[in-house]
Symmetry: C2
Subunit: 353 residues, 2 copies
DNA sequence: TTGAAAGCGCTAACAC
DNA sequence: GTGTTAGCGCTTTCAA
């Protein structure tokens, strides 16, 4: 069934059918109704390719999930408690606004070509990029596309240094720095002074932010930053487990009394290490994670963690990209969402002895 | 940059460019190379809409995630530990085969129109439907589309009764019945006789299968099926929590010694109820769940559970649908994947007293 | 082995 | 207001 068939049945021309479909004002109510009736009766759907070819939008946005370092991580990105809800909320919002979402994973630099391809092939009107790395090279390629795009969790400073604050480009971030600072301050408030930090990957914006917040919160409170207390966890549970175990076994006399982990996944590794060495949480060691993954609240003791407003971010991303697709954007924009410290059982006031 | 531009630069006609792009055999190596060079130099990508309009495939498959009963459940489908890895694996496989994936959620009967629309608008070559319900009405609509489609976890008997074993249609299931039977037999093997069951939604295939397996395993082992021991959990943690609490408080003298829960989510509810009532797992009560969600292994005590081969199913779905899109299918097909019982700490041999 | 030309289903500029 | 017509960028007969 094509628009011509509808036209014939309704006794009008294809142009009129097109005008009805596209809600043009210059068609009288009577004609509109007549045409709509036929359309509905026959479940007619205009062919998207033909519309796109004739200059219309595709009403499709691309979501590219970049996860290069995790290419060989069995615990892939959708298992990842950050991306799953992000994808969920994004689909919800986009679908509710009548948009389709094309999702593509990017597990290698090569895969990244898919982003460009999806545009050049005319598959999508705009795109969103979210991932475990925030590669400026990629950001530049995207910016050069001159097409609506949203970057999730990118470093504004780097973006500005590279003059990537272009039109049709937007950045949506969470306030990781603020969240991490809250976590460290909370521990300090409980009397802790020897606070260890399990670091994430430094090639991610959030990894760097959380690290910087730890350092500066310690320093601004006059606390010593002990290098032995800074563990390289790479955001991976396994690494954190090994590192925490090593630290607890080594620093026997002067163990830290608290750990701030740059994500919950690594906090789980820390918990395992503690269990193995018989170190009690929170009695002997307080622990705070980051991300507030689902398990956090279910653990025993439940894990304090910094919650990111993933849903709000995804919703904002959907609205923002669709807005840009439909109206274009005359400016660069940036949104930054606040975090929330979820205080649970894994932290305790330090008892002086 | 259009094919005509490439043609001019290469000194050939658009037809020849098209032949090169589509890998036709009747173009000499020399010409092919010449054209390819220009294409690569200019990062030319043929417009998908134009190709589709001219009769080619879109190389896009649709993934429809149906979750009608969960429309208002804050803990939506992607949080769902079943769908997240399914989506992950499907994307992986499809993308690796050069296919794009269009994902759409279906939260209402109305939304279901999107499935039909996606086809009629020419957005996708084939589709996969996965969800929390297995509605025969929907299956029929899909079958009538006469287009490559895969149904995940549908009841074959119902499908056959409705004569929906059509060409271009395939079903991929997990052996829930077998898995549930294994779980119950395991408990029986540990000496349990009073085994309670937390039931899932009966409007799902897996919900029914797990229920039936429980009943028949009990009966075939000569054990009494006590109606008070069959709890309506609806696959929801909250319901399970309430029901288990009610049962434990009521059936005080003759408490069950074991519980088989139709999913892990509900097992978590059971754990909470036990904790509250001071019932020790596994000392006083053994517990097995279903799905083997990520938390299961991390709980203390860790939760025994039946693992579904989600990844394998998703991979099979991707391969199968792409195969159907490319070659069509002259028959109906069905694949059924085995489950695996993960024995952990939440079950104990019954000590006779 | 190659090119010319028709056509896929739609939109939009133009004419009436 | 409405119809006619010329593309949009590609594939694919058909003819050479």
């Amino acid at each position: 069934m094509r628009s011509e068939d509808i036209a014939k049945l309704a006794g009008v021309s294809r142009s009129t059918v097109s005008r009805v479909i596209n809600n043009y004002s210059n068609v009288p109510d009577k004609t509109r109704k007549k045409v709509m009736k036929i359309i509905e009766e026959h479940h007619y759907e205009p062919n998207t390719s033909a519309r796109a070819l004739a200059g219309k939008k595709t009403n499709t946005i691309g979501l590219f999930v970049v996860s290069i370092t995790e290419k060989h991580n069995p615990n892939r990105i959708y298992q990842n408690n950050y991306f799953a809800p992000f994808v969920d909320a994004l689909l919800d919002s986009a679908n509710a606004m009548g948009y389709y979402v094309l999702i593509h994973t990017v597990y290698s630099e090569d895969d990244f070509q898919k982003v460009r391809q999806a545009f050049q092939q005319g598959r999508i009107d705009g795109g969103i990029i979210v991932g475990t790395e925030n590669n400026m090279e990629m950001a530049r390629i995207i910016a050069d596309l001159q097409v609506p795009f949203i970057l999730i969790d990118y470093d504004m400073r780097e973006l500005l240094e590279n003059r990537l604050d272009r039109n049709n480009l937007a950045v949506i971030n969470s306030k990781d720095y603020e969240g991490a600072a809250k976590a460290v301050e909370h521990l300090i408030g409980l009397g802790h002074q020897r606070i260890a930090f399990i670091s994430g990957r430094q090639n991610t914006y959030s990894g760097r932010q959380r690290y910087e917040a730890y350092i500066s919160s310690m320093e601004s409170n006059g606390l010593e930053v002990n290098k032995d207390y800074i563990l390289q966890g790479e955001f991976l549970k396994m690494n954190a487990y090994e590192e925490v175990k090593r630290m607890l076994m080594m620093a026997d006399g002067v163990r830290p009394t608290a750990i701030f982990s740059a994500n919950d996944e690594m906090a789980l590794g820390a918990i395992e290490a503690c269990k193995e060495l018989g170190v009690s949480i929170p009695n002997e060691l307080s622990l705070i994670g980051f991300d507030d993954i689902q398990v956090a609240a279910q653990l025993n003791p439940s894990l304090s963690s910094v919650r990111l407003p993933i849903f709000e971010m995804a919703k904002a991303a959907a609205h923002s990209i669709i807005d840009m697709c439909e109206k274009g954007s005359e400016s660069f924009s940036m949104l930054s969402f606040p975090t929330q410290l979820m205080v649970r059982e894994s932290c305790q006031r330090l008892v002086k002895d």
